[in-house]
Symmetry: C4
Subunit: 285 residues, 4 copies
């Protein structure tokens, strides 16, 4: 991530000061900046959501327009300041957060310079790109790193599991298509049947498509029980992965100099096997 | 919680005796009081529920009115007795249970003194506040403390998870809105699409809103599989947290005679804190 | 359970031989009897299910009648044999399986002696009592004891959890009733709203009742996410309980006579700490 | 699986070279073959799915016919090459993958030689047999072996669980049939009620069948809460099984020099099997 540049504090230039406020959060000003930014992003997302509700959009049309311009200006200034204060503007612009920051302001400009496009559906979708600003929130979640780590650790296994689920739904969807499509308009094609199989195996169960033949209902029952049972697989993988991670965090790798005994508790001061004093500072963590 | 005041038993005043009956449950009278109170609260909640069923409410209107007054009087007497017998009435009144006990009787008085309001919708809602009496049941669950502890222990992680789910549904709801809103009246606004995304990702799946376009169904399938897979996250967190808690409970209860340190490993021979030899036979198990 | 009576083998009477065939399964005849009984029970249950499908019931009316009498006779003979061969007929008759065996034949006799009742709805329900025969299958599941043990071990915690869910749904159902009942015929009374809250919090989501007001949808979204998150609680409890049980099964309580070291693997022949030979037969299990 | 035949590399015949390309994946050509095959199978499955969508099937009828023949030829050549290059053609033909490879090409030939059958429904179903080609993908998943192992390890317990679920749904379906069938056309027979019970207990909840009577809704609520709670059982079994498996994998890989025994505890100083001293420093980690 973004590290301290190790310049002595008294030589801080304006650029450096802005850097500390914008990119760091261990000073008062940095924290205030972070909190303001979170509030502004949240307000912007709420604005975007409200603009989609037609009666509200018509009633507050003018206010929404002004607020749109306001957020456009604020996010532009913020983006330019970030570009200005980092050491290598190019590297920031190419980074994950840099791209998201840019994506979040482009649609506003597209609408600003091409106002007659405003009515077009294409642009309407384009505006929604601003929803990407949500992902800027992730930056402020320290805890999320821990959970992402767990997810990545068992990523391979969960990927295999998802691939297996997709194979299964393609197969079961095709079987159900053969059984149902003559009697049931809901199963008019294999993609539709696969969609139904996913709705069923994940236990969502909308009910917009449901089997009608006796054999179809038997297969459907089988798919449901299967979906109900195999949810245990990703859950078990995640549980076991987290139990292991907790255990690793609990472990202490200090070795007693007298008897070579290991596996001491993290708060142990003396070897539990021979009573020899241990190093007071754990070697790990 | 509420502790014994350490007064010699023979000096117990009436106030003290009431206190023991109402607040403690290790005497016969105390247990009888607790059980009676549970039954009265349950009967009151059943009454509230039945009053909402129109045919029953009309048929038993008079009986319901009398029972309403009866419960009002009972809960008022109980509240006043509690205020009377505790050491600091003010502190009880401000405590969690004190506030709930008060909230449970206020609506009855509001109706009693303002009978012509009875017909108004606002008051009808107001009466429902008495449902808060349910939370008084929590007081009688010893086991619940253990589970609340587990929940609180992993509270931070589950909060991050919930926040992540909300970000995800806001994003996916917006995407589905763009894809569906021209072809599907169910996705008429972003809030409605977010509602649909929550219904889908939690695998509830009412089916009152369902995607209709091909692309919408593909994205919906993706959301379902996502919801089906990420349920593993809170489940894994809770499992790992409980496995750890059980392990802590399993730990040895030997106490070092030299430094009073506890929490030694089961196979420890010497105190990990001061190096003093421990009893070779674990006190427990 | 049913134990061997410790009579020398050569003195076995007919009664004793029948006992061994019916109640034990370690002889060839005993196993054959068990398997025949499983097949007969399964056939009887399939018959019961088919009798409820009107077109089938009309087409095969006579065959079904004959089969009904056949199963009646078979189960009666079996019941009488069991009564005859056990030591204390009274104790068997009062046991769990004895009561189920009796409940399984009574309805057939009621219909036999009161044939004009056959058309009555009451008797039709009465006949369904024979579905209780399903529970006789449990007798043949050895593995089920292990899982019941796990369930019972965490019974208290799961009961508290269920009680908590019921309190929550009563509360949330009442809140939704107040919000929705004027705009939505689906929420016409509190019991109906509680039913909806259970459908939602368990992520079943029929969709026969769904919120319509904006505030109702927000509360409903909250209930769904809650239900999605708290499923982690019983799952975590069960996982932790099973992890613990596996661990207990893994442990070996042998102690080295030379160095008092414990915690040896179950298949260890020598102490892992000092190399002293261990007792070859584990003390436990 | 398929092992190396241990022939010196310079003596490799054409047959042997084909064998290495087709059956092994540690050479460049072998990997290229595997990847091409995966792509061809995926394209074939996508073709099959698209053929079921009527508008697409009509528009691209000719292209689809040509592609069908193309895939028929490709898979036939591949099958014949496999038969040719393995040592024992008969053994491959009888193996799991051999049967699937054959099943994947037979339907194309049936259609080719009996073109006038093409219009018949039976053949249409027959063609779907080609979906079995999906299972050929499993061959390329190394990770899947690990997960199948976990599944098989807890197979017995999950089978008992599934059997228990089926007994339960048969029983609860019958009870609901008695309660609902006079007031609710959705519960017209016991099989239909069992179908509803499965839809409900697995928390799928289509809503095509839903209880209408008060008592039916109470029983349904009970079934939902039951389903919501017992999902903890397979999940717990899988979690505990995986935690145990991870623990086994964590174990020390030191081998006793005296008796070749493995699987020692990490803190073991002497071989648990013969008492020989072990290397003090674990080889792993």
């Amino acid at each position: 991530m973004l590290q301290d540049h190790n310049i002595p504090e008294e030589q801080y230039t304006l650029r450096r000061k802005i850097y500390i406020i914008i990119f760091q959060s261990n000073t008062g000003a940095g924290r205030a900046f972070d909190i303001s930014l979170i509030i502004i992003i949240l307000l912007n997302i709420i604005l975007l959501i409200l603009e989609s509700v037609e009666p509200i959009a018509i009633a507050f049309d003018k206010i929404f327009n002004i607020l749109d311009y306001f957020f456009m200006v604020v996010f532009t200034i913020e983006y330019l300041l970030r570009l200005y204060c980092v050491r290598e503007a190019k590297r920031y612009a190419k980074s994950f957060y840099g791209v998201i920051d840019l994506l979040a302001i482009i649609p506003s400009y597209a609408e600003f310079f091409l106002p007659n496009w405003h009515m077009l559906m294409v642009i309407r979708s384009f505006r929604l790109l601003r929803v990407f600003r949500i992902f800027r929130m992730v930056r402020f979640l320290d805890e999320s790193r821990y959970m992402l780590l767990s997810l990545l650790r068992s990523f391979n296994k969960i990927l295999v599991f998802l691939f297996f689920i997709i194979l299964l739904t393609v197969f079961l969807g095709s079987v159900m298509y053969v059984l149902e499509y003559e009697h049931n308009p809901g199963f008019h094609s294999i993609p539709q049947s696969i969609y139904w199989a996913i709705v069923t195996i994940t236990t969502v169960g909308y009910g917009d498509v449901a089997p009608m033949t006796a054999l179809g209902k038997i297969i459907a029952s089988f798919i449901m029980i299967l979906g109900y049972a195999i949810i245990a697989v990703p859950t078990g993988i995640m549980s076991a992965s987290l139990v292991r991670q907790y255990k690793d965090m609990d472990n202490d790798d200090r070795v007693c100099e007298n008897c070579d005994n290991k596996n001491h508790a993290e708060d142990a001061l003396f070897c539990k096997n021979c009573g020899e004093a241990l190093d007071t500072k754990p070697a790990k963590k």
